[in-house]
Each structure stands twice: as structure tokens, then as C-alpha cells.
């Protein structure tokens, strides 16, 4: 079953030694075998897995199992820590220290360079108050220039282009002069996709690098990538000394094990992740949270942060409180739907939370239409019905259906959706606002006894 989440796999293997009070070489090996499989199935590079397992084994066998902790939990903790070590601990920003910062985007064909160029330009404009210039340096792929120009128009960010009858190096030279003249503080160079073994094209990139003296060279990598990541990342790094990676298409259902591998292979951090086709679907990369996601625990921290960012706090608190008091009604759901619309790409993040009910994907046209339908139904109800939908018997439903010109089936569908919303709000409101972890489980699972070391000393003394 290749697509079970890694955590399922881990828990399965943990179950097997649950009854046993000791970590032995034998049950460790069994667990590690499962972990190895799970990692490989998540596309973590083979060599990385090998080393990972070796390190985990050494560390896990050296651990004492104390207090109420189970051996399996200790191993999960070790695995988690090992993942974090692999991914790095701190989020890494772009280097924006110069008067004019050049960012060079490189990668294989179709990995997401052009889209990511647009996203980063938007990010720098919105969040860092920069004035970026996009440079169309892909002279090979048909319509590559048009693509970037179109994105520039959508973003209202200038694009420097000179067509395709000119060398990419010359475009970059001219773009730099243009940027200086027009006081752009960031220049983002979108280069053509190429294979890492295509020597002439790799030389072109080295030339561009020489000319542009970039502050960042970002390798854009598709998160659907498998084992070949090791060849791609190391070749690009050898050739260009990249400063960071961007992992795209994380909104898919791939487990992104490539992320794990890139840092290990090149030593450079992952700076951004792409989570959708829209131009605001980009996030900073938080290694520890990624470790959580890979372990199947959900990127709850990102979620909470994002919710805080966009959610109208007062409205949200009101809804949360109603939820806690058990008075969450249809009006609240409507309000929540409006909020959700504002959150946009968050629907992607929500899906990462284990046990989250499936929420319908948010698509602007669709959402608008559905929202209108929902509104028309809800507005045909009495205030008490809205507050307490359980009042809705067949007779009332018929009345409402007539009132809004929809069918009873539509109303039933809405009520079902309401139940799901309620469930979702319940789960959201039970997250610990500080850790972003579900308050019921989070604690016991990862708490390490603070007196661990001391106790070990005691034990030794006794001996």
C-alpha cells in the first residue's frame, strides 16, 4: 500500500512492539525496516535513507525509555529529531542585503521556475516592500516569454524581455542596466528549463551567473521527483553553487521526500515551497514543520499561523466561542465560509491535518456560486432555525425549499455540510494556540522527561 501516510506505517510498526517493554536489537531492526520502506515510498533518496537508518539506530539504541514513555514513542521522537536534523532547523530567508539583489531561478524543464519567479516577485512586493524586476531569459521554449509577460501583467510587476533572437546572457546584461536605471532593488531572472547533463546549456547558466553576480541562485524542484533528485541537485550545485532550493507542487499528494534529500545532498536550505498554481501560493519553508508533515502529523503550526494572518480575529473568536458553547449555528457557518474564501489556498494546508474532514476545494467561481446558493437557503430560514438546525423537520424543509426556490435535497446537502463544518471548527478550536498541536494528544506523545539525565545518573551510581 504505497500511499498510506508515513505515520500510519510507523504506527503499524510501533504496534508490533507495543507490548514489549524493551527495545531489543531485533524489534528495533524490524521497526527500522518499516521506517526504511516508508521513507523510500515517500521518495526520500536511497542514499539518504541509508544514512538516516544508521543514525537512527545508533541514537535509538542509546536511549533510555523512561516514565510513561513507550519504546515506540522514543523511536518516533528519535526519527522526528533525525528528520529535523536532516532538513535543518531554521527557516532561511532570501539574501536581500545589497542595493540590487539578483535572484537566478534554475532547474529542470517544467519544475515551476516561471511560476515561482512570479510568486517570489509578488512576495517581495507585498511582504518586503521591494520593487522587483522580472527578466525573461528563456529564449528556447516556445512562448516562455509570453508566459512571464502574462504573469507580470497579472501582478502588475514589470517584465524585462528582448524576445528570443538574442543570447540569454545579453538579455541579462541589458536587464541589469535597466534595473539600475529604474531603481529596482531586486532582479529575478527566469531561465530556461534544462537537463543537468546538458553541458552547453549549463555553461549558459554559468555565464549568466558570472554576469549577474546573483545574491541567490535558487534551484526549483518539483516535489513529485523521485530518486533522480540526487543527480539533479548535485549537478546543479556543482555547476552553479546554488544558495537555496524551492520545492514546488506541494499541494499535490506526493510526500515530498525529495525535500529531505536536497539539503542532505547539497547542504543548502530550502527557502520556499509552492503550494498551488495561483501566484500567492508560496510559503517560507519551516524544516521542523516539514518533519511533522512527513511524519504524517500535519502541518498544524503553519496552519495556525496562516489562520492568524488572514482570519479576522474577532469574528473567529466569536465563532470559536460559539463552538465551545455548543451554539454553532448556520449563520456562523456562513460567516466561516466567507472567512474560508479569504483564506484561499489555506484549503491546501487544512488538508494536511490528519483527521480533518474533507473540505470542498476552494475555487473562486465555484465558491461564489455555492455561497449564493447557501445564502439563499439560509436566508429563507427563521432565526431560530438558523441557530438550531435540528429544528428542521420535513415540513419546515419544504417551506424553506419553496421560499428559496431550491429542493429539499439541496437543503439536506447544506445540513450535511453544516455537520462537517461543525466538526472542523471543533478540531480547530481544540488546537493548542501555542504549539498548534491538538491539545488532547500533543502533550503526552512527545513530552520528554526533563529529569531524564539526572535519573540516568542515579541509575549509574546505584550500579
Amino acid at each position: 500500500m504505497p500511499f498510506e501516510s508515513l505515520s500510519d506505517r510507523l504506527q503499524d510498526s510501533l504496534k508490533k512492539i507495543k507490548g514489549q517493554s524493551q527495545l531489543t536489537e531485533a524489534n528495533m531492526d524490524e521497526m527500522l525496516r518499516e521506517i526504511r520502506l516508508a521513507l523510500l515510498e515517500a521518495d526520500v533518496n536511497f542514499n539518504v535513507v541509508k544514512e538516516f537508518i544508521k543514525n537512527t539506530k545508533e541514537k535509538a539504541l542509546g536511549q533510555d525509555v523512561l516514565g510513561s514513555l513507550k519504546p515506540g514513542q522514543v523511536v518516533v521522537k528519535v526519527v522526528h529529531d533525525e528528520l529535523v536534523t536532516l532538513l535543518g532547523t531554521e527557516a532561511s530567508e532570501l539574501d536581500l542585503s545589497r542595493d540590487m539583489n539578483v535572484i537566478m531561478m534554475v532547474g529542470l524543464q517544467g519544475s515551476g521556475k516561471t511560476t515561482t519567479s512570479g510568486k517570489i516577485a509578488k512576495y517581495l512586493t507585498d511582504k518586503k516592500a521591494k520593487k522587483p524586476l522580472l527578466v525573461a531569459a528563456d529564449i528556447y521554449r516556445p512562448a516562455a516569454v509570453d508566459q512571464l509577460v502574462t504573469l507580470g501583467k497579472q501582478l502588475d510587476i514589470p517584465v524585462f524581455e528582448k524576445g528570443t533572437d538574442i543570447k540569454a546572457e545579453d538579455i541579462v546584461t541589458q536587464a541589469l542596466a535597466y534595473a539600475k536605471e529604474n531603481h529596482h532593488d531586486v532582479v529575478i531572472v527566469d531561465t530556461a528549463g534544462r537537463l543537468h547533463i546538458d553541458e552547453p546549456l549549463m555553461q549558459e547558466l554559468r555565464n549568466i551567473k558570472e554576469i549577474a553576480q546573483p545574491s541567490d541562485v535558487l534551484l526549483v524542484v518539483d516535489s513529485l521527483t523521485g530518486q533522480d533528485i540526487v543527480n539533479v541537485a548535485s549537478s546543479f550545485h556543482e555547476s552553479l553553487t546554488i544558495t537555496g532550493a524551492v520545492l514546488t507542487k506541494l499541494d499535490g499528494d506526493s510526500r515530498g521526500g525529495g525535500a529531505l534529500s536536497i539539503r542532505h545532498i547539497t547542504g543548502v536550505p530550502i527557502k520556499f515551497i509552492g503550494t498551488g498554481e495561483k501566484l500567492d501560493a508560496i510559503d517560507m519553508f519551516y524544516p521542523d514543520r516539514m518533519a511533522d508533515r512527513i511524519l504524517g502529523m500535519g502541518d498544524v503550526v503553519s496552519l495556525v499561523e496562516k489562520v492568524q494572518d488572514v482570519y479576522d480575529e474577532k469574528d473567529a473568536m466569536k465563532t470559536m466561542n460559539r463552538m465551545k458553547q455548543g451554539t454553532f449555528g448556520l449563520d456562523d457557518m456562513l460567516e466561516q465560509m466567507h472567512q474560508m474564501k479569504k483564506l484561499g489556498p489555506l484549503s491546501g494546508v487544512l488538508k494536511m491535518i490528519p483527521g480533518m474532514p474533507k473540505i470542498p476545494e476552494i475555487n473562486d467561481d465555484d465558491t461564489d456560486k455555492k455561497m449564493k446558493q447557501t445564502e439563499s437557503i439560509i436566508f429563507s430560514m427563521t432565526p431560530s432555525e438558523r441557530r438550531d438546525p435540528s429544528l428542521l423537520n420535513a415540513k419546515r424543509k419544504e417551506r424553506i425549499a419553496k421560499g428559496c426556490g431550491r429542493t429539499v435535497a439541496d437543503i439536506n446537502k447544506l445540513l450535511k455540510q453544516f455537520e462537517q463544518s461543525k466538526l472542523m471548527m471543533k478540531q480547530l478550536s481544540s488546537l493548542n494556540p501555542e504549539t498548534g498541536m491538538p491539545m488532547t494528544q500533543g502533550k503526552s506523545q512527545f513530552q520528554v522527561n526533563p529529569n531524564r539525565k539526572k535519573e540516568r545518573h542515579k541509575k549509574k551510581k546505584k550500579k
Binding site: 504505497p2 500511499f3 520502506l37 523510500l40 515510498e41 515517500a42 521518495d43 536511497f46 529542470l108 524543464q109 517544467g110 519544475s111 515551476g112 516561471t114 528556447y140 521554449r141 516556445p142 512562448a143 516562455a144 516569454v145 509570453d146 508566459q147 512571464l148 509577460v149 502574462t150 504573469l151 497579472q154 537537463l195 543537468h196 547533463i197 518539483d222 513529485l224 521527483t225 523521485g226 530518486q227 533522480d228 533528485i229 543527480n231 539533479v232 507542487k249 499541494d251 499535490g252 499528494d253 506526493s254 510526500r255 521526500g257 525529495g258 498554481e277 470542498p360 476545494e361 475555487n363 465555484d366
Partner: protein, 326 residues
């Protein structure tokens, strides 16, 4: 005649011609598959656990799904025991045979495009973002044109910036008609128009481009279903060929791609792109195993003639290349 040859002849029917390019892409040294395996044999004195572990590692590093690798290696081990083989020199045929049989799995493999018995043949290209659909359409159009067919393309990716222009540019280079809609418009409408125009102008083949979509996006998958439906409304047995384009660098997610796209459309074959890189595209073995979808073409570059019919023997050789020494 070896088992391998017999099975191959019975399953593949006519063998496909190998162009120099394909051979060059997969086998830079030009030596034959069996002589390469012989080199491997020289590295190991006996078929011990180390040998099989190396075989397993190499297959995993080629993106063949882990459980699939286990199956393959187990099968090979079993056969080796059965035949009492200890000398690595004698394992060659077994590796090839086993992998061949696992892939073939009693299905009839063809790399021919399934054409309409009469009238218009419709081909739908689907796949995740950035897989190489548009370029593959250009290459396939070129190939069909060279076979003497008239081809029309439909710019069904109305979402990605510049996608329509990209296909239109290829079409004008190929001197074939391209039906376009508005950027941001309904792709089904484009496909509908294209079918009408293709029938009116009596072209042989219509190839429809679609926007890249990740298989877990419900709305986008529904949109694809609608395009499929629109085709079937005019041509009930269409699309005659639905090709799922998979990037050779794709890892384990490839199986999920094949699974989900198959739920929505009747995926009749795979196109494995970017095989001119270092990726081995091993995931197609798992896809064939789980969903019985064969690879029809492989992409070996960015020019119009960089599309080849899939050849299993060459492919298996490519997978085991590392096992056979530098």
C-alpha cells in the same frame, strides 16, 4: 530460442524499429544487453545476498516502487534456486525474463496509436503540471504527419499563462491547424469547436492539449471529465487514445497519478518524457503492474523528432545499467 525471446515475440507481435537515437539515449556504449549483464557477472563470483541487495538497490534508485522491487527480486531468487544456479554468469536471462514477464503480465503490448475505424481519431493528452504534454503533442503530431496523416491540435490548456501560444507556435512550425479559445475560457468549449472543425475539414487525427493538473484537485479533475464527456457526445467511442504524460523523474507519486487519471478518463497509454536525462522512469513498472497501463512512447529531447516508440528490452536494460558496471 530463449524464453525471453519467445515471450516477447508472442506478446509484442511486431517488434519496433530502434532508431540510433534511442539506443544512444539508453545505451551510450552500444554494447548489447546480455554482454553488459555478463560484465556484472564478472564482478560477483557467486549469487549471494550482496548480489541481490545490489540488484534491489539499483531498482529502487530507478524509482521502481519498493514493493515491486521486492516482488521482482523475490521472483528472480526463486527462479535461481529452482534452477540451481550459483554462477552469476547464468542469471542474465532470468533477470530479463522475469522483469519482462512482470511487465508484460499476459497483456498484449502495442505501441501503435489506437485509430478510429473510420473518420476522426481523437487523442487526449493528460497529466500533472510540467510533465511535458504540450511538447509531446508537437512531437506526436510530427510523427503522425510523417506517417502521412493530417493532424489538427486543440489548445485545451486555457489556464496556464502562455500555454495557448506555446502550442500555437509548435503548430505553425509543423504547419498544422491549431484551434484556440480564450485564455481563461472553458477548455471543453475549445475541444468541442476543435472536433467540429476537425470533422468539417476531414483531418485524420485531432490531438487535444489539456492544462496540467495535480490528480488530487477535485475541481480540475471534474473539468477533465467534462472535456472527456464533450468528446464522447460527438464521437461515442472517443477519445480513441488518452495518453497520460509522466515525467521520468517522477517518484512514487506516479502510481497515484495513473490511478486518479484512470478514474476520470480511460487512460490507454503512458508517454514517459525526459528520458534523455539521468532518471530511469522505473515507476512505469509499478504503474503497469497495478493498473495495467502500458508505455507507448518515450520522450528523449526537446526537438520534434525526439519521440520514440517504447521498447521494453531497451528499457529494462536501462534500468539495470548500473548493475552492469560503468
Amino acid at each position: 530460442m530463449g524464453i525471453f525471446k519467445r515471450i516477447k515475440d508472442s506478446l509484442v507481435g511486431q517488434s519496433t524499429k530502434q532508431s540510433e537515437k534511442y539506443v544512444a539515449g539508453l545505451d551510450k556504449s552500444r554494447s548489447s544487453f546480455s554482454s553488459k549483464i555478463n560484465e556484472l557477472a564478472a564482478r560477483y563470483r557467486e549469487l549471494d545476498e550482496d548480489y541481490f541487495e545490489e540488484l534491489e538497490n539499483i531498482l529502487i534508485m530507478s524509482d521502481v516502487g519498493v514493493s515491486m522491487v521486492m516482488t521482482i527480486v523475490d521472483e528472480i531468487k526463486k527462479e535461481v534456486r529452482l534452477q540451481g544456479i550459483v554462477d552469476p554468469k547464468e542469471i542474465n536471462d532470468i533477470i530479463v525474463d522475469k522483469m519482462f514477464v512482470i511487465y508484460a503480465n499476459e497483456s498484449y503490448m502495442t505501441t501503435k496509436i489506437n485509430e478510429a475505424k473510420e473518420g476522426l481519431t481523437v487523442i487526449l493528452m493528460v497529466g500533472v503540471n510540467g510533465a511535458g504534454k504540450t511538447t509531446t503533442i508537437a512531437k506526436l503530431s510530427n510523427k503522425l504527419k510523417q506517417e502521412g496523416k493530417s493532424v489538427m491540435v486543440a489548445a485545451g490548456d486555457t489556464f496556464r499563462a502562455g500555454a495557448i501560444d506555446q502550442l500555437a507556435t509548435w503548430a505553425s512550425r509543423l504547419d498544422i491547424p491549431c484551434v484556440k479559445g480564450k485564455e481563461g475560457g472553458d477548455p471543453s468549449a475549445v475541444v468541442f469547436d476543435a472536433i467540429e472543425q476537425a470533422m468539417a475539414s476531414e483531418v485524420d487525427v485531432l490531438i487535444c492539449d489539456t492544462a496540467g493538473r495535480l490528480q488530487n484537485k477535485v475541481n480540475l479533475m471534474n473539468e477533465l471529465e467534462k472535456m472527456n464527456r464533450i468528446i464522447q457526445r460527438t464521437i461515442p467511442e472517443g477519445p480513441h487514445e488518452t495518453l497520460l504524460v509522466i515525467d521520468a523523474t517522477t517518484g512514487q507519486n506516479g502510481v497515484s497519478q495513473a490511478k486518479e487519471f484512470s478514474k476520470i478518463t480511460d487512460v490507454t497509454g503512458l508517454v514517459l518524457t525526459k528520458m534523455d536525462g539521468t532518471a530511469k522512469g522505473g515507476i512505469v513498472l509499478s504503474i503497469k503492474d497495478e493498473l495495467n497501463i502500458p508505455v507507448k512512447f518515450i520522450g528523449l529531447g526537446e526537438s520534434l523528432d525526439d519521440l520514440e516508440e517504447f521498447d521494453l528490452e531497451q528499457y529494462i536494460y536501462g534500468l539495470c545499467q548500473n548493475l552492469m558496471g560503468e
